[in-house]
């Protein structure tokens, strides 16, 4: 067996949807973050590795870290920072904690339905492989420093990937069910020391991404002239028209990017 590997699991504590303030009684981590923790623990068990649970946020974030410790994480690090940071900044803060870890596991969304982009920013900063939005992680390859994972694609399709370490993974909630902490571990975790580090100075021009729900643009249509009400309804709703099918185009990368942007603009995703 190769040498033990270090795994970092990133956890975000947020208020549950529908709760106005960040009352810690109603805060928690997403099922995806829980699955990330379980994935990290299983990978560590198969590689004699260790798991560090990391969170960026105020003191309340320690609740998530203590739960991780109770479940078996070996250590916990909190980067003391306000909770409202954008993804690029969170990734920048986490970079220091990740260090030389071989695997970073994140959930692919937080309870507040974030954009799921922290893992991508993190992989970019670490210059390592990334596999995001995973629906399955096969832990057997970890000893060979090669993970076999399955990624969800649009239209119900799946992509099988082989990811070399070091890598950043993000997993869906269905990937694993978090184990229940044992009684003694749960009691001990209440007082285990958490490594609290000051956050790195904030980046001067941290980008702020405003994510809004998808709202298709209104389309201008000619008033249908047909006197038959049913025909007018059909004309307005396209109810019986042929549905738009996916289109396969073969283009150079630059042209492909242009094409994607144009389509996104047409469909109303981009202004």
């Amino acid at each position: 067996m190769n040498s033990p590997i270090d795994i970092v699991v990133c956890l975000k504590l947020t208020a549950r949807p529908g709760v106005a303030d960040a009352d810690e009684r109603f805060a928690g981590v997403s099922p995806a973050d829980q699955a990330a923790l379980e994935t990290a623990l299983v990978l560590a068990e198969h590689s004699r590795g260790s798991v560090t649970a990391a969170a960026v946020g105020p003191v309340a974030a320690e609740l998530a870290l203590r739960e991780a410790l109770a479940c078996g994480a070996h250590r916990a690090v909190r980067l003391d920072a306000p909770s409202a940071l954008d993804s690029a900044e969170v990734a920048r803060q986490l970079e220091g904690v990740v260090g030389d870890a071989a695997i970073v596991v994140c959930g692919d969304y937080s309870l507040d339905r974030g954009s799921g982009s922290v893992p991508a920013f993190l992989a970019h900063r670490l210059r390592c492989a990334q596999a995001l939005g995973l629906v399955s992680v096969d832990h057997t390859g970890v000893v060979d420093r090669m993970l076999h994972v399955v990624r969800r694609l649009d239209g119900g399709r799946r992509e099988l990937l082989t990811v070399p370490l070091p890598c950043v993974l993000s997993v869906e909630g269905s990937v694993a069910r978090l184990r229940r902490a044992g009684l003694r571990d749960a009691l001990a975790a209440r007082t285990t020391n958490i490594d609290v580090r000051p956050s790195a100075p904030m980046a001067a021009h941290a980008a702020t991404a405003v994510v809004t729900p998808y709202r298709p643009r209104a389309r201008t249509m000619m008033s249908p002239g047909d006197p038959d009400p049913l025909a007018r309804l059909r004309a307005l709703t396209d109810a019986t028209g042929s549905s738009t099918r996916g289109e396969t185009v073969a283009l150079e990368p630059g042209e492909a990017a242009e094409r994607i942007l144009r389509s996104l603009r047409e469909w109303g995703y981009l202004d």
């Binding site: 009684r25 229940r180 044992g182 009684l183 749960a186 009691l187 001990a188």
Partner: protein, 444 residues
């Protein structure tokens, strides 16, 4: 536990005391014990203290003077009760006795409305500050015993979940599995319980202030009889800052016999002309239900056995006596006395049944058992068929005739009205006298 000997004075056990249930009883027991220097684990099955708990809404926390001086400066109170009404209702009538007291709006106060997820969380916070280890999302599933049968700990639903202690205090609320497991209940019968159901209705604070005639943090407590669609029980309306709690308490066998659903009974109560103007236009925020150990002394279990004490609703210490529905203060007091008696027994190193006798002695010397003894006939009287169904009709009819102006007929005398309406309500003079005497003996 890796630090097994670090906490418990006795190295053979994990901890000195396990308190099961972080409700008012459990937290007060844990505060008393932790302050006395014992290691305490407070187990709570909910994700946080109070998350699973519901009640009508009025708490009388004066008993906290001993544990948390000036509790009123910090307790998460919604409103201070300054107005108490007792209402007798028929389908189309209502008669109230309304009492208002400005002094109850200032320290040391009297009653207060509070949400349980706030109140219980706050109280458990004091237990933690005192040094108790609170462990949530953990259900005690049974008792551990030694060969002699003495309780030595609990089993829980967590992996590796047995925890041993010198003493266990069961504060796991009504229908306590631990007290039953220990064989402390003689009889568990449906007739001893009522079902409490409650709607919490959201309204703007100004609207509540105006409708209930209060200002600022002043609040109202209305107890109602005759509002339960013929099922023996009672109702209540309490004001929070921006919600109103409307609920009923229903005798279980009567509810089953009538084949009515509790939500139907509340819905009907809310259409009554005395209640509808108070709640109309409100938004239903929450619907909750819970059992109440209603029968007081007649259902109370043995309060201690070797290695185990039982407090609060787990010991059926809730006082349900008509105009009084007090459970939280009885739970806090019994929890505190259990904690004190436990500390005494642990210091002496004697947690046998005899060694724990200080608990019952404390309850007997204080309001906890004195009130229960004094009001022991109240639950049966208040829930009796005559008090529930005949007297409200009779009282409303008498009052209606007193206030009705039937000119050109002259006003009838009160005695005549009373006699006529008693007959019309089907109440025998003998029964009226007997109930009057029972009422005097009970409440007098």
């Amino acid at each position: 536990m890796s630090d097994r000997t670090q906490h418990a004075a006795n190295p053979d056990v994990d901890v000195d005391v396990i308190v099961v249930g972080a409700g008012p009883a459990g937290s007060c027991a844990a505060i008393a014990l932790a302050r006395a220097g014992f290691s305490v684990v407070l187990l709570e099955r909910g994700p946080f203290p109070g998350s699973k708990n519901m009640y009508g809404g009025v708490v009388y926390p004066r008993i906290l003077d001993e544990l948390i001086p000036r509790w009123y400066d910090e307790a998460p109170v919604q409103r201070w009760i300054t107005r108490r009404s007792t209402m007798v209702m028929t389908d189309t009538q209502a008669m109230s006795i309304d009492f208002r007291n400005d002094a109850w709006a200032a320290p040391p106060y009297n009653g207060a409305t509070a949400y349980r997820p706030d109140f219980d969380h706050w109280l458990a916070g004091h237990a933690e500050s005192a040094g108790a280890q609170l462990l949530c999302s953990t259900t005690a599933t049974g008792l551990l015993r030694d060969r002699s049968g003495a309780v030595t700990g609990v089993t829980t639903d967590r992996p590796d979940g047995d925890l041993t202690a010198r003493l266990v205090i069961a504060c796991d609320g009504v229908n306590s599995f631990l007290a039953k497991d220990a064989g402390l209940y003689r009889e568990v019968a449906a007739k001893h319980y009522t079902l409490g159901v409650k709607e919490t209705i959201g309204l703007p604070k100004e609207v509540i202030d105006e409708r209930f005639g209060v200002r600022g943090r002043e609040g109202v407590d209305i107890e109602i009889i005759g509002c339960t669609s013929g099922v023996n029980g009672g109702g209540f309306v309490y004001t929070n800052l921006d919600t109103v709690a409307v609920g009923v308490v229903l005798k279980l066998p009567a509810l089953a016999a009538q084949q009515l659903r509790p939500e139907q009974i509340i819905a009907k109560m809310k259409t009554h002309s005395a209640i509808a103007p108070l709640v109309e236009g409100g938004e239903l925020k929450e619907y909750s239900a819970h059992l109440i150990p209603e029968a007081g002394l007649s259902m109370m279990p043995k309060l201690a056995t070797a290695g185990l004490l039982v407090a609060g609703d787990a010991a059926a210490l809730c006082l349900a006596a008509g105009i009084w529905l007090e459970g939280v203060n009885f739970a806090m007091a019994s929890g505190m006395y259990a904690g004190q008696a436990a500390a005494e027994a642990l210091r002496r190193g004697d947690t046998s049944e005899q060694g724990l006798a200080g608990y019952e002695r404390r309850l007997t010397e204080t309001f906890v058992l004195r009130d229960h003894r004094k009001l022991r006939r109240a639950p049966a009287l208040v829930l009796s068929d005559r008090v529930q169904h005949r007297y409200p009709q009779m009282v409303a009819a008498v009052v209606e005739r007193m206030f009705r102006v039937d000119n050109p007929d002259p006003k009838p005398g009160l005695r005549r009205i009373l006699a006529q309406e008693r007959k019309r309500a089907g109440v025998r003079r003998r029964d009226l006298a007997r109930d009057g005497w029972a009422g005097l003996r009970t409440f007098g």
